[in-house]
């Protein structure tokens, strides 16, 4: 293993021990040891998460909030306990400010459909950034087409940084919502979200942050950030897919109408009229993703046990190493060179298309993402049709970067 230097900078972190917790990392792909560098798309799961999900189904599965019997009460307690785990993880003021959704996309749509439809009207402005994922673009376009709001895009620089001076100029009295990524899924840029939030609030706008990428690498603190909404998916945080989170400040969630109607979100129902349940259940119609939510709780427990700050130091070391090693590959250009970056490195080769690169290195056992990463407007801005993206999780090590660079040699052999 080539993690000697990593150990030196981060004695609290034992990557070999972490790797032993992720069963998939001891498998092979095309007969080669799996080198997984696609955690920004979806992270692998530690045994602790897999066991938690299996344990729910094997020992105490029932519907939540309904059964008047022991296993339903037990699973309800575990499900609701996860809400508290998430509250603590992001330092929200109350557990009922944590709403379970399917994923971050649904969380953003929930805000667009309820807060957006209810509180925004024609001519009101929503500011997003030029590096957003489609999930933080399309819901606002749909709202624009329905309500006549104005969608404005704060540009990014050639390095992939948010242009804060442009943001300052675009922020105005018509701005009602600023919706931005905490961290770019394509470039790795970490946005100055505390500053954005402070300025947006000073202008009277609310703030939604897409924390899908950030929440796995950077400590996030709702009290310190002060944002109004924060969204993320469980599956990028080493938890199951099918579970996501919307954090919303209590007074806003209280003022917002429900998203979907159905069971579990009501207080009373007659054919004439229904009344809504209290938070957070008002926003959780129907039977939720029970085992997945509990699995997410186990994932956060796992991240906490390893230590998010130790993970961050390890990943920062790997990102530096990857940046250095990739820079030495002939004809390679890194896309996204902001000073404040985390865990993602996107690049292009001047002699091969990202898809061809991904296909070739796949056969060497290296899993990366190639394409537009659900951020086509950003691709246009950076003037590339697609990129190769290597993204780093807590279980990656320098040997993974070496395998990537080695496999790029095969691309050069064919195309160079």
């Amino acid at each position: 293993m080539t993690s000697t230097e990593s150990v030196a900078v981060n004695p609290a972190f034992d990557v070999a021990a972490v790797r032993r917790d992720f069963p998939i990392l001891s498998t092979t792909m095309h007969g080669k040891p799996l080198v997984f560098l696609d955690s920004a798309a979806s992270a692998q799961k530690p045994r602790q998460v897999i066991d938690a999900v299996r344990d729910v189904y094997e020992r105490e599965y029932a519907n939540v909030h309904r059964g008047l019997y022991a296993i339903s009460e037990a699973v309800t307690a575990r499900y609701e306990g996860t809400r508290e785990t998430i509250r603590a993880y992001i330092n929200a003021a109350h557990a009922h400010e944590i709403v379970f959704t399917r994923n971050a996309t649904e969380s953003i749509n929930l805000v667009a459909y309820t807060f957006g439809r209810h509180f925004l009207s024609e001519g009101d402005e929503v500011l997003i950034s030029g590096l957003e994922h489609h999930s933080n673009i399309v819901p606002w376009q749909m709202l624009r087409d329905e309500k006549g709001i104005v969608l404005k895009v704060v540009p990014v620089s050639d390095d992939g940084e948010l242009m804060v001076s442009a943001f300052d100029e675009m922020l105005g009295e018509r701005t009602k919502l600023v919706a931005m990524a905490h961290m770019s899924n394509v470039l790795g840029t970490v946005l100055p979200v505390a500053e954005i939030t402070r300025k947006a609030h000073a202008a009277g706008a609310k703030v939604l942050l897409d924390g899908c990428q950030a929440v796995t690498h950077i400590p996030v603190d709702m009290q310190a950030l002060g944002c109004d909404f924060y969204v993320f998916s469980g599956h990028k945080l080493y938890g199951p897919s099918g579970i996501g989170v919307l954090y919303g400040r209590e007074e806003l969630l209280d003022a917002m109408p429900p998203f979907m109607g159905g069971g579990d979100m009501i207080s009373s129902v007659t054919f004439e009229k229904s009344t809504w349940a209290r938070l957070p259940h008002k926003f959780e119609a129907g039977t939720p993703a029970i085992a997945q939510a509990i699995g997410l709780g186990a994932a956060i427990d796992y991240v906490n046990s390893v230590g998010l700050s130790a993970i961050g130091v390890h990943e920062a070391d790997l990102l530096n190493y990857a940046t250095q090693q990739l820079a030495s590959v002939e004809g390679l250009r890194i896309i996204g060179t902001a000073p404040d970056k985390a865990s993602v490195v996107s690049f292009v080769l001047n002699y091969a298309h990202p898809h061809d690169i991904a296909t070739i290195i796949d056969r060497a056992g290296v899993a990366v993402r190639a394409g537009h990463h659900c951020a086509k407007p950003l691709m246009d801005r950076m003037d590339v049709p697609a990129t190769v993206r290597a993204s780093i999780g807590m279980y990656n090590m320098r040997a993974d970067i070496d395998a990537l660079v080695g496999a790029l040699g095969e691309v050069q052999e064919l195309f160079g």
């Binding site: 095309h30 091969a352 298309h353 990202p354 898809h355 061809d356 296909t359 070739i360 056969r363 190639a370 394409g371 537009h372 086509k376 691709m379 049709p385 697609a386 095969e410 052999e413 064919l414 195309f415």
Partner: protein
Amino acid sequence: MSDELRELYQEVILDHGKHPRNFHACDDATNEARGNNPLCGDQLVIYLTLGADGKIVDASFLGKGCAISMASASMMTELLKGRTPAQAQAMFDAFHGMCTGDENAPELQEDLEKLRVLSGVRDFPTRVKCATLPWHTMVAALEGEAEISTE
């Protein structure tokens, strides 16, 4: 490097990928369609010019994509000239069948044998659409559709 990779990226494909033939717009085109692969963002435009006798007298393309899609479009435009729309459709059926491994599809005719270098995509399911996007777009152009997209 694996044999499958060498099979996929044969010299002919690399050559067409790097130096695509008929790679230009055509102002006189009678039929034109844009093809999108929303999954990967690849885009291309196929330009066809149909003569008075109904045959394709010129075919060209523009676009951005991987070596497979560029080579496929390049070779397709070379082979389309002089054919009727019905013959072009038959070419599509045979080529599509070869890429997807469909045993019921017609065999490639002798004069289309050179397309067989693209048959390696059968071993790469995620890359089949790269090879077939130009062909779907060509059929759309013949049918008068302005835009198609593969998923």
